[in-house]
């Protein structure tokens, strides 16, 4: 059981190393932004993985409310926690990138704002879990909040986008031709895969720990 987890951990570590090499060795220096653009190889995969994590929370929450499988609840809990970690990385690296590029650590631009609202929503989700002692009740309430939170993300996104926008449009997910050169895209994808692996490793470990905690405390 833990051996599979260990293999996943090693693969994730290798992936991170490969991503690091891609980001600094293979991808060329970006012409307009300079080397500070290399932060993107952290910033963008982190938020994509966070979205993945919160999507998993939604699915696991629905499954939990449907059949009350304790495993689905543990998956939702672990995934939300790891998603919050990755969101914090996205926000921190974004601020560090913004200082030399925009001249400020923080602006209330659309995507910064919507991501930080998402961050706060899932922090509240973890807080709700921490504040309810009864495990079964915590699971039910968290599942409801997990569904509301996930459905709220598009609403937050649109509302904040209409409210104000200054951010450059997401370059990777835009349909049609990507304006980025292949080496940049490749470095980004390698890092994305590495982050997904790392996410899988963290979640697998956290789910196992949650199960053991519940067994010990039972």
């Amino acid at each position: 059981m833990t051996s599979r987890e260990r293999v996943l951990g090693w693969v994730a570590g290798l992936g991170l190393t490969a991503g690091f090499v891609m980001a600094f060795g293979v991808a060329p220096r970006e012409a307009t932004q300079g080397n500070v653009q290399r932060i993107m190889y952290l910033h963008v995969p982190a938020i994509l993985v966070a979205y993945l994590a919160f999507g998993v929370v939604l699915v696991a929450s629905v499954i939990y409310l449907w059949g009350r499988a304790a495993g689905a609840d543990r998956l939702a809990h672990a995934s939300a926690e790891v998603g919050v970690v990755f969101t914090s990385i996205n926000i921190a690296t974004g601020a560090i990138w913004g200082k030399p590029t925009w001249g400020t650590w923080w602006t209330w631009d659309a995507r910064l704002t919507s991501v930080s609202i998402m961050f706060v929503i899932y922090l509240a989700y973890l807080l709700l879990r921490a504040m309810i002692e009864d495990r079964e009740r915590a699971a039910r309430f968290a599942a409801v909040l997990g569904i509301v939170a996930a459905l709220d993300i598009p609403l937050v996104h649109f509302s904040v986008y209409w409210w104000r926008t200054l951010h450059q449009p997401a370059t990777l997910l835009r349909p049609g031709s990507t304006p980025m050169d292949p080496p940049f895209v490749l470095a980004l994808i390698v890092n994305l895969v590495a982050f997904v692996l790392l996410y899988g490793y963290f979640v697998a470990k956290r789910v196992r720990l949650l199960r053991q905690e519940q067994e010990v405390l039972a």
């Binding site: 220096r29 307009t32 932004q33 300079g34 080397n35 500070v36 290399r38 932060i39 952290l42 910033h43 982190a46 790891v82 970690v85 914090s88 990385i89 921190a92 690296t93 560090i96 990138w97 200082k99 030399p100 790392l198 963290f202 470990k205 956290r206 720990l209 053991q212 905690e213 010990v216």
Partner: protein, 61 residues
Amino acid sequence: MPDNWSFVLAAYGLAALVLGGYWRRLLRRERELAARERRRGAARDEPRPAHAPPGPPIPRR
């Protein structure tokens, strides 16, 4: 455009710190659980006193 290597370093360093911190937290929890499991296993073999002293408090963050 200047290169701003210090910002790149700060970003990667911070990310490493956050991920490493979370990883270490998981590892520590793992060790604690293992120790608790061992204690419980040992306690099961011998009769438990009526007022067993509770284990050391689990540090929480």
